[in-house]
């Protein structure tokens, strides 16, 4: 059945409307697969930990901020583990699942329809897929593309290389998990962003397909119900959303455990919640703070009063770091600047407890405890006085794949901790009020993938480096996720990468189109670049070889090899290791070792074969080059005559497709003024909810508007926040307040 569809798909190019069945198992003979499908050809049986799931997220009109962040969190392995395991791992049968099977959309449509009617808050965008689809079957999505013959000039969405087309295809191909239900009861929790997030994760992990699309209806519904600022269909700030989500999760988790504790004390039977017993057992007080354990670090601010020379220290927790940017700098340098000494003077004087009163002071902030996951927010949206609004900074800020922090305190534990980059949220667009977010994420064993709403595509490792920014770069990195790792893990990964690269290089020699080459939809190499193809591996894990093996000689058991990369993850994150050992039984491990051995043997054999092949390929290649050269010579001869004319012509023809399109991007129609008012509005609305948004958050909201005196945000709490007062604040708001720092 599935292979039939695979063939059907390959024959007609785009998926036929009927092929919305989950393409879980790919027919290896089907030549026209999406790059992701190609990548996953060797994917084995579904894993329990969700590391082999690559789902896009449906965009309901400018919900890309949400999609990009949720994707990053999903691939933050320890975070995903915790979400799944808190309050307890739910038995699969207890949970409602999104409808799957041959008619997924039928079900979904009904539900979505009902949902749309029942709740006015359900996500609706101007260009919403969901609303359009909930009324009519999704089928038309696939059909128009089928009629188009490739090569003709087409609308942007019909161009097979365009993201629009690919997104459409992804939706059409499905399976689409319509997350319009909630299982919070089954979790023993009240409905919250956390339960909705858990629903999404659970559904993705449990699904039988490796790929698909998630429609996060419920999640957005809750988000918008709770937070006025996300209610508009406007472009939102992804970092703000990340911050809100993390704090919301902290709050939900703590709220849950608090009520749980109360319930235990009352000894009330909670027959209404069938899971409760298991839940209580599974919830130890220590596990409540798991978000803190992952994302939280501690900053120490040292303030030295210039009058009495008294130095006071204050620790503050953070969930992410917001760093100011400079043109032509690096993340390392931004972090160092973050910890540079600053003067508190004039308007921002420091209230010294010793001399009593506002005094001039020197202040510096250093990191005392390093977080396990370091979320770095590059402050690309800066308020400019003369324009009276936020502006995007296109500064070129380079970021390395690996990082250590220089700005630690002297007593910091493990100050040389090594971090590796594993996710980048990219903002595309000319300003803060419109644009698009995508994320580029390093997955456990499938290398780097680009998550652009519904579309998921493998990319080259070097691709990650394209978003440093710069004057002519619309797409720039906005949030960077670094996770702790070890040198051993780094070396191991680099070795695997280079092995992959070597294999790929060999592959490039043998076939014109390599499996791993990130060319769009199998549209071949259009140029003579194949001899300068990337040396950097597209897919860095060795199961890429397994896939190659598979194609040649390997027996099917090969395919589960990708497990072995899990080992290195576990070493890098010890806490996770324990949990994973629950998942992966010892037997599996033994098998893995065996497979590993077998794989090595296979590889050696393969290498020998490759060597033998090389010689005959050499002749082939020479012919090819000769031909290329001839072609080129012809082109040259033609071009030489008209070289100058042509270049002139081109000079005239080149520029048109420029700036004007910027506004077409997403929410161009929204006036700049309204965009600004949104920001003010949101911060106002936040004040309505003092419980959620403490003073610190307000500072944060205000901050972009007064960047000229960045110290205020810091000086304020330090002036008002005596230790005792701080203790009194409940932990949620504490976490939230401390979540962001602006310097």
């Amino acid at each position: 059945m599935t292979s039939f569809f695979g063939r059907l798909k390959s024959g007609t190019g785009p998926a036929s409307p009927a092929s919305s069945t989950p393409p879980a198992k790919k027919d290896p003979n089907a030549p026209q697969l999406t790059p992701l499908e190609k990548l996953l050809q060797d994917a084995g049986p579904i894993r329990a930990d969700g590391s082999d799931k690559f789902f896009g997220f449906e965009n309901f009109g400018s919900t890309c901020y949400c999609n990009s962040i949720v994707q990053c969190l999903y691939y933050s392995v320890p975070f995903r583990e915790q979400v799944i395991n808190f309050p307890a791992k739910s038995p699969p049968e207890a949970l409602q699942r999104p409808a799957t099977g041959p008619l997924p959309r039928l079900n979904t449509n009904l539900l979505a329809d009902a949902n749309a009617q029942s709740s006015t808050l359900s996500p609706k965008g101007r260009n919403s897929f969901s609303t359009a689809n909930s009324a009519s079957p999704r089928k038309p999505v696939g059909t128009p593309a089928g009629a188009i013959s490739p090569g003709q000039p087409q609308k942007p969405e019909d161009n097979k290389d365009s993201p629009e087309y690919k997104k459409k295809q992804a939706l059409a191909a499905g399976p689409v998990l319509s997350m319009d239900y909630e299982n919070s009861k089954a979790y023993g929790m009240s409905e919250s962003l956390f339960s909705a997030l858990k629903d999404i994760f659970e559904a993705v992990i449990a699904h039988t397909s490796h790929i698909g699309v998630v429609s996060p209806h419920k999640f957005l519904e809750i988000l918008r119900r709770e937070n006025e600022m996300f209610r508009t269909p406007m472009h939102q700030d992804a970092h703000e959303f990340l911050n809100l989500l993390l704090n919301e999760v902290v709050e939900n988790v703590e709220h849950f455990s608090k009520t749980r504790v109360l319930e235990i004390e009352d000894k009330e039977t909670n027959a209404t919640i069938p899971q409760s017993n298991a839940v209580v057992n599974g919830t130890t007080p220590s596990s409540v703070g798991w978000v803190h354990e992952l994302f939280e670090g501690i900053l120490t601010s040292e303030t030295r009063c210039l009058t009495c020379e008294n130095t006071s220290q204050r620790d503050e927790a953070f969930l992410d770091l917001s760093v100011d940017l400079e043109q032509h700098s690096s993340v390392t340098s931004c972090l160092r600047k973050f910890s540079e000494e600053e003067m508190l003077c004039e308007r921002n004087k420091f209230h010294c407890d010793k001399c009593g009163g506002l005094q001039e002071a020197e202040k510096r902030m250093k990191i005392k405890r390093l977080p396990r996951i370091l979320a770095l927010h590059l402050k690309r949206f800066k308020y400019t006085e003369d324009l009276q609004r936020l502006q995007k900074l296109f500064h070129r800020v380079v970021y390395p794949y690996y990082l250590r922090l220089f700005n630690t305190t002297d007593d910091a534990e493990d100050p040389d901790r090594l971090y590796e980059l594993y996710a980048v949220v990219v903002h595309i667009g000319g300003g803060p009020y419109h644009g698009h977010y995508v994320s580029i994420i390093k997955t456990q064993d499938r290398g780097w993938l680009l998550f652009d709403d519904e579309m998921v595509e493998p990319v080259d490792k070097a691709y990650v480096r394209r978003f440093f920014g710069g004057e002519d770069q619309l797409a720039c990195a906005y949030v960077l996720f670094y996770q702790e790792t070890t040198e051993e893990a780094m070396l191991k990964e680099q070795e695997e990468e280079s092995l992959a690269a070597a294999k790929q290089a060999a592959e490039v020699n043998t076939e014109p189109v390599s499996v791993a080459t990130p060319k769009a939809n199998g549209h071949g190499l259009t140029n003579g670049h194949d001899h300068i193809l990337p040396v950097t591996p597209t897919v860095e894990k060795d199961d890429q070889f397994a896939s190659l093996d598979h194609a040649v000689t390997a027996p099917p058991f090969h395919t589960s090899n990708h497990n072995n990369t899990m080992d290195h993850v576990t070493t890098s994150i010890p806490m996770l290791g324990k949990r994973q050992s629950n998942v992966a039984s010892k037997k599996e491990k033994a098998e893995r070792v065996k497979e590993e051995k077998e794989r090595k043997v296979m590889e050696k054999e393969l290498e020998k074969q490759a060597k033998a092949k090389r010689k005959e390929l050499e002749t082939q290649r020479r012919d090819l080059f000769r031909k290329q050269e001839d072609d080129l010579r012809v082109a040259l001869a033609a071009s030489r005559e008209s070289a100058t004319e042509e270049s002139k012509k081109r000079g005239g023809a080149e520029p048109p497709a420029t700036e004007k399109d910027k506004s077409a991007n997403g929410l161009g129609s929204i006036s700049k003024g309204s965009g600004l008012s949104r920001f003010r509005h949101s911060s106002m609305s936040l004040r309505h909810k003092p419980k959620f948004w403490s003073a610190g958050k307000d500072d944060k909201k205000d901050e972009p508007e007064v960047p000229s005196t960045p110290v205020t945000a810091e000086a304020e709490p330090s002036a008002q926040g005596t230790p005792g007062e701080k203790e009194k604040k409940n932990r949620f708001s504490l976490g939230r307040k401390k979540s962001t720092f602006h310097l």
Binding site: E157, V398, P400, D410, I428, H531, V535, L636
Partner: protein, 614 residues
């Protein structure tokens, strides 16, 4: 019909790595002379003043190659590797006397080779001195007479009769240099697009001052030959436009150069290599279409004192020695058995073809593999025995290329390493990388000596200033992606103590620090001993070869003596000349700073400067 989500359409911004302006007509170089305090470098020894700013014109793309304008900034198409403008400088007149005069350490020869004065202060030093005794024969000699010592080092491949025959033939007629085969002007190769010689080329060549500087500079797909001492230096002597390949690196052979002959080797983004002789406008293409290795060449250099052999670093981590005279032959690793076993031991240099191979009729002469990750740069030691190689995976290797053996492997603090350079005496190696640091490594002690913090972004080029190096103090310059030029004065005795012990202290700690560090190194492992192997060449244990990352708390931090933003664009090359400092940027700007008039060569100024700075 169905409504799509907001179509992300973007203005055409050019493909990543495209030249900034993207103008489409051939333009001329421009020369400006900006003045003012923002164009001066104030250092202890005086003020460097910007002489001029030469902007090389970026050529338009070749007509046959439609510019890749993908309006989608997320496009996953792979663009070919590019590099900023780099220069190869050559003075055609023999430079011997200037060397002996300017490398001041030569004056201290005899004392130095025995006991280096700066290190002598430490009583503990006797220890490492003893162990160094053996290595002095290599390093010490390298120290004493860097430029000439190379002649005493055995030539690469001298033990191989298959190579010796050819070498002998060549050296027969030293005055009449062999020229490449093809004329580049009349060439009908599709590789070369156009050659534009200056209209008065012969006249300008005749007028050229023999001690003046010639420069070869790549910008985009063009290579320009410039006369930097000419009054019309903005007018290129010759400009070669290649069809689509970009020259990423180039090097001039210092041992064959002469008034009528310059051998330059160019490495391209396509993997091709061109041997070019600008005076006769002849060229030869090597590794044609990547016959031997099809990945881009990231760095290329002539083997020291070799007329024919050069080393090219390919982006797949291969180091290949080619002979400019030889034809290509498809390459397959020669000793398969060895390769397989060596892959297991990653700490080894995999020799896929040894220089001692009897099969030397065709290129490559030898073929080594460091790892599979991209090599960013390499540099030969002044003693002509070692090569230092830095890679994108953050590793830094010291290879004895005569013995084809990996001696040391270090790691960056984090991130890839980008550039590497040897001190004129061969005692130290400096590297720069993505950790924003300039790291100084001591070869004798096989350890990290200091990290230099001051750049705000990745360090793209480091150089020693041989005219400001003496036995006590080394001047290092570095440029980076932060558009800044930094100068460092490194003296072993003046290193800052790491903050580990107590609060940050600004006072300079002399040899005590170093002693402490050394004893610690001594106690913790036997690394120090490994330098005896450095000469003996006996088989090395892996632990001795691979060195771990030094924690921050244990390494000295060195602040810069000068930091200045010198360009609008990320810098990518730095050069020191007798009378100037030169930088170049990704956009083709070459800036020349005159050295302070009175300060050059005066010992007092430099020492006081470094002392006051320390």
């Amino acid at each position: 019909m169905f409504v799509l989500p907001p179509p992300p359409r973007y203005p055409a911004v050019g493909y990543p790595g495209a030249p900034g302006g993207g103008q489409l007509i051939e333009t001329n170089n421009t020369l400006t002379h900006p003045t003012g305090p923002e164009h001066q470098l104030v250092v202890g020894e005086g003020t460097y003043v910007l002489r001029d700013n030469l902007h090389l014109a970026t050529p338009p793309p070749h007509p046959s190659e439609a510019p890749v304008h993908n309006p989608n900034p997320l496009a996953t198409t792979v663009s070919p590797p590019t590099a900023g403008t780099k220069l190869s400088i050559v003075v055609v007149a023999p430079r011997q006397q200037s060397h002996s005069r300017l490398f001041r350490l030569d004056t201290a020869n005899s004392a130095r080779s025995q006991v280096p004065p700066s290190i002598q202060e430490s009583p503990n030093e006797s220890n490492s001195q003893a162990s160094d005794a053996g290595s002095q024969s290599v390093n010490g000699n390298g120290v004493t007479a860097a430029p000439r010592e190379g002649l005493h080092a055995p030539a690469f491949g001298s033990g191989n009769s298959a190579l010796a025959v050819l070498n002998g033939k060549d050296s027969k007629d030293p005055l009449k240099r062999r020229k490449p085969k093809s004329n580049i002007v009349k060439s009908n190769s599709s590789f070369v697009s156009r050659v534009i010689p200056h209209e008065a080329l012969t006249k300008r060549l005749q007028e050229h001052n023999p001690i003046g500087l010639y420069a070869f500079a790549n910008v985009n797909r063009a290579l320009q030959w410039l006369d930097l001492t000419s009054s019309t230096k903005e007018e290129h002597l010759t400009k070669i436009l290649f069809t689509k390949a970009h020259a990423l690196c180039h090097d001039v052979n210092q041992s064959t150069k002469g008034p009528g002959h310059v051998d330059i080797i160019l490495g391209f983004s396509t993997g091709d290599i061109i041997w070019y002789e600008p005076m006769s406008q002849k060229y030869t293409r090597i590794n044609k279409n990547g016959a031997i290795n099809n990945t881009a060449v990231s760095d290329v250099r002539w083997l020291p004192n070799s007329e024919n052999l050069f080393l090219a670093a390919h982006m797949d981590g291969s180091l290949v020695v080619y002979d400019k005279e030889k034809e290509d032959a498809p390459f397959a690793a020669e000793d398969q058995e060895q390769v397989q076993s060596e892959t297991e031991k990653k700490a080894r240099l995999v020799v896929k073809k040894s220089v001692n191979s009897k099969n030397q009729k065709f290129n490559p002469v030898s073929y080594w593999k460091t790892s599979n990750s991209k090599i960013n740069a390499f540099a030969f030691s002044p003693d002509c025995r070692h090569v230092a190689v830095v890679s994108e995976d953050g590793s830094f290797r010291i290879i004895d290329f005569l013995k084809e053996q990996l001696l040391h492997q270090y790691m960056s603090y984090y991130g890839g390493m980008i550039c590497v350079c040897w001190s004129p005496d061969g005692r130290y190696v400096v590297t720069g990388g993505q950790d924003d640091l300039v790291s100084i490594w001591s070869l004798e002690d096989s350890m990290l000596v200091a990290r230099c913090q001051g750049h705000n972004s990745w360090v793209t080029a480091v150089q020693f200033d041989p005219w400001r190096c003496d036995e006590r103090n080394y001047r290092i310059g570095s440029v980076g992606e932060d558009c800044r030029l930094l100068l460092w004065d490194f003296s072993v005795g003046m290193l800052h103590r790491p903050r580990a012990a107590s609060v940050r202290q600004r006072s300079s700690v002399t040899s005590a620090t170093l002693k402490m560090q050394r004893t610690r190194t001594d106690g913790s492992n036997t690394r120090l001993r490994s330098n005896s192997n450095l000469t003996s060449g006996s088989t090395l244990d892996e632990e001795e070869v691979v060195h771990e990352v030094e924690p921050r708390a244990r390494t000295a931090m060195l602040p810069p003596v000068m930091a200045k933003k010198v360009d609008e664009h990320p810098l990518c090359w730095l050069g020191f000349e007798e009378d100037c400092i030169m930088t170049s940027c990704s956009n083709g700007h070459i800036r020349t700073y005159d050295r302070p008039k009175e300060g050059a060569g005066s010992d007092e100024v430099s020492t006081t400067a470094s002392a006051s700075n320390a």
